[in-house]
């Protein structure tokens, strides 16, 4: 597994963590490509943080393996994590040290040049408050400092656990922008978040975990089309169109929305549907796949509704 393709940033193979009888992560097999922004979703207690901790060598897997940037984490954590930046759970700092000194501690521990500190503080806009002790920082400031700490090693792979917790809307937007800019520079980002709207905006692929088990994984766009729904807008009276559509054997259902119809049918039938309505004298003004939101999809898959 350590000889995996060089374009893979994270690969887990039947990764499992058991605490006595309880299975926190259950045979998780996952691949994240280099340069990808990957969303890792799940309700509380799904096993997201435990998975992150196993990827960082902090928690020992009960079974299976985790490979980061081509190196088995359990076998060689020093090499595996050398180019990884991580922010896991709540920001953790020495309260008696300043923000700057907290970063100095991490620089020393990680063998990183102290000149990086000013650069990362600039990125998270914490330069002016860096000399104050962390104990006086707000939650949002701690969150920014944690992000700065994550960026210290100029990481190739960035693991973020709820990075916008405690941030105001402006701060959240800035972090989202930062994630995009890091991705644009070729960094791989593994993002755990409850902010499904945020994940939908920045992630290309997602995986959904519940009770330690992987429920769904794939491209965000593909997952959201999973319902196979077509959005159809008809010029004029829609009642004739509804009757025609309901008569079709490959249409499961037709729902009426504000100014359009939702037709439950495979999206591959779009052209056929258009031709059928046109031949019946019903002009179609708009026809497109109906995308559900990631939140809808998440709630449906996890059964949290």
């Amino acid at each position: 597994m350590s000889n995996q393709a060089p374009d893979v940033a994270i690969a887990t193979e039947h990764l499992t963590k058991r605490y006595g009888e309880r299975v926190a992560v259950d045979a998780l097999t996952l691949t994240v490509q280099r340069g990808e922004v990957f969303g890792f979703l799940g309700p509380n207690g799904a096993g997201k943080t435990t998975t992150l901790a196993m990827l960082l060598g902090l928690v020992r897997p009960s079974a299976g393996r985790a490979v980061v940037l081509g190196v088995d984490v359990a076998a060689n954590p020093v090499t595996a994590l050398a180019r990884v930046g991580a922010m896991i759970e709540a920001p953790a700092f020495y309260p008696y040290l300043s923000g700057y000194d907290n970063l100095r501690v991490l620089c020393r521990a990680g063998g990183i040049a102290a000149t990086r500190i000013a650069e990362v503080l600039e990125v998270v806009e914490m330069t002016s408050r860096a000399r104050e002790r962390v104990r006086v920082y707000s939650q949002g400031m701690k969150q920014r400092l944690a992000l700065a700490a994550t960026l210290l090693p100029d990481p190739e792979l960035i693991l973020l656990d709820e990075p916008t917790n405690g941030l105001d809307p402006a701060g959240t937007a800035e972090i989202r922008q930062l994630i995009r800019s890091l991705a644009a520079r070729g960094r791989t980002i593994f993002l755990c978040s409850h902010q499904l709207h945020e994940v939908e905006q920045v992630c290309e692929r997602v995986a959904i975990l519940k009770a330690g088990r992987l429920l769904a994984e794939g491209q965000v766009a593909a997952l959201l089309q999973r319902d196979q729904r077509l959005r159809v807008r008809i010029e004029g009276d829609a009642s004739k169109a509804i009757a025609l559509l309901k008569a079709l054997p490959w249409v499961t259902d037709v729902e009426t929305a504000a100014n359009h119809l939702i037709v439950v049918t495979p999206t591959s039938r779009a052209a056929e549907l258009n031709a059928y309505l046109a031949s019946a004298g019903v002009p179609v003004a708009e026809l497109a796949p109906e995308l559900s939101s990631l939140e809808d999809f998440f709630l449906e898959v996890t059964g949290e509704t």
Partner: protein, 297 residues
């Protein structure tokens, strides 16, 4: 990895208010002890116009030696191994327990994942801190001793030999603290908190001192003496006594626990303290190396 982590641990320790508070308490208690000793001698000899003889002449002579050079070195090192040991336990517990309590252990070990190097770096940083504390204690002790001896007219006979053996005394004082330090780190790791570290260190210390008081039972039967001398405290006492003897002191005059006739031989004492240190150090290492590192406690 060790060098990097040592630099990080040293920065944390150097900037930590708890470390400075412990140092201030140690130096304050040391100064207080020396002032009390000075007053005892002054009262015994009627320097203050009052003659109070609560101690025997040979005991006062021992205190006079402790207030003079080179005896002050032995006195300060004795203090290091009594009050200093307790303060070292508090400092070590705060050092590792804080990393667990604040959740900083996660961020540290996700950047520098060699847990053995982490424990070694922390231990070495604490020992360096203690070394600096001892050196400062010696300086403060010498300063107070010079003032006291000028007032009481005590003689000084500092030789090159005394200065040459001083590093041996310091090293021995650190060795005496080492098992308690490592036990505290092991307790903090097992309990994942500062409180667990303090509890483990202090409870053991109390138990150990209590067990050490059984030393006199060794006078009854040689076999009992051999068994008791396998406990940590009699061996610690033996090393403390040797440190006093290094500078011409006979602390058994002031403390029954330092009776050389029942204490273990120097070689055994050193060996037993090293074995206890290895045992506690191994427990700390095994706990940190094998346990999952969870979030803030």
């Amino acid at each position: 990895m060790f060098t990097r982590l040592f630099a990080a641990e040293w920065l944390k320790l150097w900037r930590r208010p708890l470390a400075w508070a412990m140092l201030a308490i140690f130096l304050g208690l040391l100064a207080l002890s020396l002032i009390l000793w000075t007053l005892v001698v002054a009262l015994h000899e009627g320097v203050l116009g009052i003659n109070l003889t609560v101690l025997r002449d040979e005991q006062v002579a021992e205190i006079r030696r402790q207030l003079s050079l080179p005896g002050i070195f032995g006195m300060v090192l004795g203090q290091v191994n009594s009050t200093g040991g307790i303060l070292a336990i508090l400092l070590a517990a705060g050092s590792l327990g804080g990393d667990y309590s604040w959740g900083t252990l996660r961020s540290l070990l996700s950047r520098a994942p060699d847990r053995r190097a982490y424990l070694l770096a922390k231990t070495m940083a604490l020992l360096l801190g203690l070394l600096i504390g001892i050196v400062l204690g010696l300086l403060v002790g010498v300063l107070i001793a010079l003032i006291a001896s000028a007032w009481l007219g005590l003689p000084h006979t500092l030789s090159v030999r005394d200065l040459l053996v001083l590093p041996i005394g310091i090293a021995r004082a650190l060795l005496i603290i080492l098992p308690y330090l490592l036990l505290t780190l092991a307790s903090a790791a097992l309990g994942r908190s500062t409180l667990a570290g303090i509890a483990g260190g202090i409870v053991f210390l109390i138990f150990d001192i209590g067990a050490g008081s059984l030393t006199s039972l060794g006078l009854v039967n040689p076999l009992i003496r051999q068994v008791i001398n396998l406990l940590l405290q009699p061996n610690i006492n033996s090393l403390v006594m040797q440190n006093g003897q290094l500078f011409g002191l006979d602390q058994s005059l002031l403390t029954n626990a330092l009776d050389p006739t029942v204490l273990p031989a120097p070689f055994q004492a050193t060996l037993v303290v090293i074995i206890y240190s290895l045992l506690f150090g191994y427990t700390a290492w095994r706990t940190i190396a094998r346990r999952d590192i969870t979030g803030a406690q």
